[in-house]
């Protein structure tokens, strides 16, 4: 397991002017940051300028990203010929936050840096990915045989005239049981919550051995805990949002089985439905999930398909209207090994009187971290930085958008000669997941 590297530099990226955060990220941002995104007049012609729609004039910025390798993974990088501590040929992607945000990308050069010019100041999501070719993978020793890529990321506050940042990447390993698809059913109406019960979560076996799903746990964290809301300021959520010992959750569910009832073969996927029923009867655009592998059963009013095994809640919540999962505003979804709830640390969220339990990080098999998509519910509320504990995820995706029809799917890292798909798992959700139009329950890409 990768270890965090303590930085001795005060992280200048702040959600608020009055606050600074000592970075526990394995990255260091070396930028001078404007505290607020103010629009101001500039007189000098030394930097490019633009006139904004609001009538002000803003400077454009040049951003330089340096990509290095985490110290713990340098030996692996060396095996593919990158022994200098920097990483070349890394695909760097910058997303500007906010509605209509732009996307820029570039490859790192021989010095391991990528430069972007004429960027508008503001908050950017930066993620980097260096996929390994099959030839490179074959160069790795047995201890690193499951590495498919290097990846990392951070949230960067860009200010003119120039901003520099350094991102330390980690080796991305295939893992075992991974989240392969998250389908958030959103019917074509503008109501914020309309029949969210057609949701499913797909788990895939990304390893080379059989996995028994019996006792495995899926769960998610409280909504509204990763933005700087007045009621839930980042300060107040930081202690458990960034807890290096585990994920705090109120809502987690156990897959039934005594130990060997539900095997999942390598390359196979299993579907957990909120309700394992044919949802097309309620909306023709929904899916028939009556043949799901599992369904969630929260309360007595939750329709129970007697032919589909039930997940039962272990935590406090029984999900949306007692039916189980709906990921319309959930920041982190995770899958873990079997848990003994009695042994978990328990606490209470300070803002609502409901209990939460700490799921040990060592038990977490996979996680997906996401914020709302650009332009969705931004409302000027800054995202907490870091979004989650970087040991869990290096840079969250921004794919949460219930107004769009489609599904969130894990990208493919490689296709083996046998035709089996290996899914990309770099613990950088921004690069591991994508939004696609068509859900594909039980079928990997």
């Amino acid at each position: 397991m990768q270890q965090a590297v303590e930085s001795s530099i005060m992280h200048p990226i702040t959600a608020r002017c009055s606050r600074s955060w000592r970075s526990t990220l394995g990255v260091t941002a070396l930028c001078a940051v404007a505290c607020t995104q103010s629009v101001s007049e500039v007189s000098g012609p030394s930097v490019p300028t633009d006139t904004t729609g609001s009538g002000g004039t803003v400077q454009r910025a040049t951003v330089t990203i340096s990509v290095t390798v985490e110290a713990a993974d340098m030996p692996i990088a060396a095996q593919i010929g990158e022994s200098s501590g920097i990483l070349r040929g890394v695909w760097v992607v910058l997303h500007r936050s906010g509605a209509g945000g732009t996307t820029d990308s570039a490859l790192t050069d021989q010095a391991g840096t990528a430069q972007f010019t004429r960027l508008l100041p503001g908050s950017y999501s930066v993620s980097v990915l260096r996929s390994l070719s099959l030839a490179e993978q074959q160069k790795l020793d047995s201890a690193a045989a499951d590495v498919t890529a290097f990846a990392g990321g951070l949230t960067l506050q860009v200010s003119a005239p120039s901003t520099n940042a350094q991102i330390a990447v980690v080796a991305g390993r295939r893992g075992s049981l991974v989240i392969s698809e998250i389908y958030i059913y959103s019917p074509p109406t503008a109501e914020w919550l309309t029949h969210p019960f057609g949701t499913y979560l797909e788990l895939a076996n990304n390893s080379d051995t059989t996995i028994y799903l019996d006792g495995k746990v899926i769960g998610w964290t409280l909504p509204q805990q990763h933005r700087d809301f007045t009621n839930y300021p980042c300060d107040a959520t930081e202690s458990w949002r960034l807890d290096t010992a585990g994920i705090w959750s109120h809502d987690f569910w156990r897959i039934p089985g005594a130990g060997s009832e539900y095997p999942l073969e390598p390359g196979e996927a299993a579907i957990i439905a909120t309700d394992a029923i044919d949802h097309r009867q309620f909306n023709p655009t929904a899916l028939d999930l009556s043949a799901a592998d599992f369904e969630m059963f929260g309360t007595s009013e939750d329709v129970d398909n007697p032919f589909v095994p039930n997940l039962r809640p272990l935590g406090f919540s029984n999900g949306v209207f007692g039916h189980g999962m709906w990921f319309g505003s959930t920041p982190v979804i995770f899958v873990t090994n079997a848990l003994d709830v009695q042994q978990l640390a328990r606490g209470f969220v300070s803002t609502v009187s409901i209990p939460v339990w700490r799921i040990p990080l060592d038990d977490v098999l996979d996680a997906y971290a996401t914020d709302w998509a650009p332009g969705v519910f931004d409302a000027g509320v800054p995202t907490c930085v870091p979004f989650v504990n970087p040991l869990l995820d290096r840079q969250h995706a921004r794919l949460l958008d219930v107004s769009k029809r489609g599904t969130i799917r894990r990208r493919v890292a490689a296709i083996l000669p046998s035709g089996r798909v290996i899914l990309q798992r770099t613990r950088t959700s921004d690069r591991d997941f994508e939004f696609v139009n068509n859900p594909s329950p039980s079928t990997l890409p």
Partner: protein, 932 residues
């Protein structure tokens, strides 16, 4: 020339002072003939003769108001201090319009009294009403100390609670909060229109605690003030202190409204701003020596609530006919030793708020409330020799309330039953999107009658006025009630225990009958050396009957002694005090609450084959009626000091008040439990094409905790503070006068309702058998505080008919705070799955046995928090027009101040943006060149 209540005879004198003078017109100084000059609060009056002279004899000493009226002229109110003897000459100049009068009061009278009342009051006369930018009575009440100013219009339901400020109201999803505006209003400020109370007690236009569709309503609070147009008001008396025993069904003062019902020149008025358009017309005629008069008024107004954001609109129509007839008089000029007066009022109003669907924003969402009312009232007053009258009042108030709401809902597939009685049912499965629609048809009725004897005389050296009365009211609602299709209910949050509402009818509810007896004595006595003593003492006995008629037995009885006392140390210096009790009736909906439904799911088998599905549910019905429910009781106390140096001097009034209301009606959640039977199933094989069946008897049962919401007299509201009214002398050179009013009010609110934690926690407890118990906490005490000063700078040029009023309202302090334990040991006990409350002594709460109960309590605002100090400014500029017209320009928030946004540590206060408009009033007679 003397009138029917001549100054010469019947009033038993306590002084021998005489008031004389001439009434002339500002234009040309010609005498005004047949003007009525009356001493307000007495029945002393005179009519000017052919040279404009008048004379009132035997006028009582002390501060008074001389009221002068003549059709074609603006009414004039002249404050004066009458000596104990001698002659006081008061020459009066009448003007065609108010703006041309000297010393006109365009704000609340700082030292005024409601007619016949001694308690602290704000008296707002027609000139002030005309100068106040107000679409309804709500805007007029902004002249009362401590009442915040708001943009003019008909935007939303508006209620009033005197001498009360909001306390914190936690989001319902966190903890049971309160009170909100309607809770506060439900404690009761009485509103009396033309001598007859208006009531909201039979308003049942509420969806109840489980309602989920958006619908604005005034149910549970005072009446919606928007229905009373300001344009047709003649005078508003706001008794902030202790009203006399004549007034019941109140806990927080009384507002006495007089509409413009007299012989008045026809006028039309119009107001326009970017959101509100209002047109009103008024006119009155008299005949038979002014012994018959007919007045009519009409008002129509429209407000666009949030133009650009919504298409929501509110329309109001109001129509009033008033007829007055005096019988039994001799020929003109002769004294009338007895007479009979009939006042007939027919009021019609309609208030429609429409929020049509805006598919581009929220498809399917729409609502309207259409309320209209007709009130027919008759007051017959028989006067004997001017020292005794008997008055009988009869009024029928019929209101028709129609509300509709629709919302696109979505629900999961779930078992469902539409059973209307208790018992087990084979259910069916429902689910998916649907358009939920509901109607609320309410027809509240109020039958009110009062018989009152008013006797004047002298006892023990006191000038005495004794009023004895009996009052009876009957309120009911004959509407069709709360209607919707049970299969498509207005709730989607069924948790497997709390059932969906069922339709309910209003017309099956029993009527509420109440009655009262009262005696009120007003005693005045000079004490020598310029001192005098005023007492108003009385007792009232209110009875809530246990049946539908006044002949049925008593369910609750409240004796309410009241005393107001005033010592005038000098004619300009007064010390007042009051102490007394008042009571308010519970609302019809609290006395007869709707049944609460619980649908417990026994079997829930949703197979892919629809023919094989099976749902079994058991329906339970709980009646939350509380047979012990009775009056809310209030104890009111105040102490006031007033110095009044007359119209051209300074006036200051400082009042300390303390009101404590106990037994306010609120909902209390009583834990109970249901037994859910568990059944074995048979014949449930795959592919049978049959739904299977349950096997009786049940193989077991589990207990399901529920919470029944029961109306109880469990709320306490205590308000105390200071009120200030200050009127500085006019700077004659600048024609500038400054008035300051303000209030410092602290309100504390608490209920008997226990705090069971968040909505999520309670819901999880009900449905999750893994949770054996949840903690409960004692209800918090919620405190609100507001210190507010309102400055009014008035520049008046009578010769130009020009008036500028700048109003600055400064909120110095505003915060809310909750008192209640929040640490993990603050819980008071726990509730079990069998609905039993088990208290846990404080010393045992650290025990390992209770570790599952130790959790932080949330939802309380434990530190004082509120918006920062801020201010707001309004401006009104008025000018007479040729032919007695008047044009006003007004601007709300004239500096367009934004206010302050809230932060994590501080509340915000955002002002409505600047809104400006014009008022135009035209006198039709003058416009058409007719003489009057």
């Amino acid at each position: 020339m003397s009138l029917g209540s001549p100054a010469t005879a019947q009033e038993r004198p306590v002084s021998s002072a005489e008031i004389t003078g001439r009434v002339t017109a500002r234009d040309g100084g010609m005498p005004v003939v047949s003007a009525l000059v009356a001493l307000e609060g007495t029945r002393l009056a005179a009519e000017t003769d052919s040279v404009g002279s008048y004379r009132i004899s035997n006028a009582p000493a002390g501060p008074h108001i001389l009221n002068v009226r003549r059709i074609g002229f603006a009414p004039s109110r002249i404050p004066l201090t009458i000596p104990t003897s001698g002659r006081l000459e008061v020459n009066i100049v009448l003007a065609r319009t108010v703006l041309e009068l000297e010393d006109v009061t365009v704000t609340a009278d700082a030292s005024g009294r409601a007619a016949g009342e001694l308690g602290t009051a704000s008296v707002i006369d027609r000139p002030a009403i005309a100068n106040q930018t107000a679409a309804s009575l709500a805007g007029i009440l902004e002249l009362v100390p401590g009442v915040p100013i708001a943009p003019p219009g008909l935007d939303g339901v508006t209620q009033i609670a005197l001498r009360t400020v909001p306390t914190s109201s936690a989001p319902a999803s966190l903890v049971r909060g309160g009170p909100d505006a309607s809770d506060l209003a439900s404690f009761g400020t009485l509103i009396v229109v033309d001598g007859v109370p208006v009531s909201n007690n039979a308003n049942l236009q509420s969806l109840g605690a489980r309602g989920e569709l958006p619908l604005s309503t005034a149910a549970g609070g005072g009446i919606d003030l928007r229905r009373i147009p300001a344009a047709t008001l003649e005078r508003v008396e706001v008794i902030r202190g202790l009203p006399s025993a004549r007034y019941g069904d109140l806990t927080q003062g009384a507002i006495l409204v007089q509409t413009r019902a007299a012989a008045v020149a026809p006028e039309v008025a119009a107001r326009y701003d970017a959101r509100t358009l209002e047109v009103s017309a008024l006119g009155g005629i008299d005949w038979r020596d002014e012994r018959q008069a007919l007045t009519g008024s009409f008002d129509i107004a429209n407000t666009r609530v949030s133009p650009g954001a919504t298409r929501e609109r509110t329309w109001r129509t109001a129509l009033q006919l008033a007829h007055r007839a005096e019988l039994g008089a001799n020929s003109a000029g002769a004294e009338r030793l007895s007479r009979l007066t009939f006042d007939t009022r027919i009021d019609y109003w309609r208030l429609d708020s429409d929020s049509p669907e805006q598919p581009e924003i929220i498809p399917g969402r729409a609502s309207f409330t259409h309320d209209q009312g007709l009130r027919v009232g008759e007051r017959a007053r028989f006067a004997f020799h001017d020292d005794a009258t008997i008055e009988w009042t009869l009024s029928l108030d019929a209101t028709r309330q129609r509300a509709y709401a629709q919302l696109l809902r979505s629900r999961p597939a779930q078992p469902f039953t539409d059973r209307l009685t208790e018992g087990r049912s084979i259910g069916r499965f429902v689910g998916g999107d649907y358009l939920s629609t509901l109607t609320l048809d309410g027809d509240p009725r109020l039958l009110y009658t009062r018989l009152e004897a008013d006797m004047r005389g002298k006892s023990f050296g006191f000038d005495r006025r004794l009023r004895l009365g009996a009052e009876a009211r009957r309120e009911w609602n004959s509407g069709r009630g709360y209607l919707f299709d049970i299969e498509f209910p207005p709730q989607a949050s069924f948790n497997g225990v709390n059932g969906f509402d069922r339709p309910r009818r209003n017309d099956t509810l029993p009527a509420v009958a109440s009655s009262a007896l009262y005696a009120d004595a007003r005693l005045t006595r000079p004490l020598g050396s310029g001192m005098s003593l005023d007492l108003q003492t009385g007792v009232r006995l209110d009875v809530l009957h246990d049946g539908e008629t006044w002949l049925s037995g008593a369910r609750d009885i409240v004796p309410q002694p009241r005393i107001n006392a005033q010592l005038s140390a000098r004619s300009w210096l007064r010390l007042r005090g009051a102490l007394g009790r008042t009571a308010k009736l519970p609302a019809l909906g609290d006395l007869h609450p709707a049944a609460q439904w619980f649908d417990v799911v026994n079997v829930n088998r949703y197979t892919p084959d629809p023919d094989e599905r099976l749902a079994v549910l058991t329906t339970f019905v709980r009646d939350p009626t509380n047979d012990e429910l009775g009056f809310s009781r209030s104890r009111k106390a105040e102490l006031a000091l007033e110095a009044d140096l007359g119209q051209r001097g300074a006036t200051i009034s400082l009042t300390r008040f303390h009101d404590r209301i106990t037994g306010g009606v609120g909902l209390r959640r009583d834990p109970e439990f249901l037994l859910r039977d568990q059944y074995a199933l048979a014949d449930t094989g795959l592919g049978t094409g049959q739904p299977g069946r349950i096997v009786d008897p049940p193989i077991g049962a589990d207990s399901v905790p529920i919470f029944v919401e029961r109306p109880v007299n469990g709320s306490t509201l205590a308000s105390s503070g200071y009120e200030l009214s200050l009127r500085l002398p006019e700077l004659r050179a600048l024609r500038l006068r400054l008035e300051v009013s303000g209030a410092s009010t602290e309100t504390r609110f608490s209920t008997q309702d226990l705090d069971f934690g968040s909505f999520q926690a309670v819901s999880a407890f009900e449905v999750d058998s893994r949770i054996d118990r949840i903690p409960y906490w004692e209800g918090a005490v919620r405190t609100g505080r507001r210190d507010m000063l309102t400055y009014r700078l008035v520049h008046h040029q009578p010769t130009l008919g020009f008036l500028v009023t700048a109003t600055v309202q400064h909120t110095l302090t505003e915060w809310q705070r909750d008192q209640g334990g929040t640490d993990t040991l603050s819980f008071a006990g726990y509730v079990t799955r069998s609905g039993t409350l088990i208290p846990v002594p404080a010393e045992q709460r650290t025990s390992a046995e209770f570790s599952d109960l130790r959790r932080p309590r949330t939802g309380l605002r434990v530190s004082s928090r509120g918006p920062p100090s801020d201010w707001l400014m309004n401006l009104t500029v008025a000018k007479t027009l040729p032919r007695e017209g008047r044009l006003s320009f007004y601007a709300f928030n004239v500096l367009d101040r934004l206010g302050t946004f809230g932060t994590a540590t501080r509340d915000g206060r955002l002002f409505s943006s600047m809104r400006f408009g014009v008022d135009l009033t035209l006198q039709l007679d003058a416009l058409l060149g007719r003489s009057r």
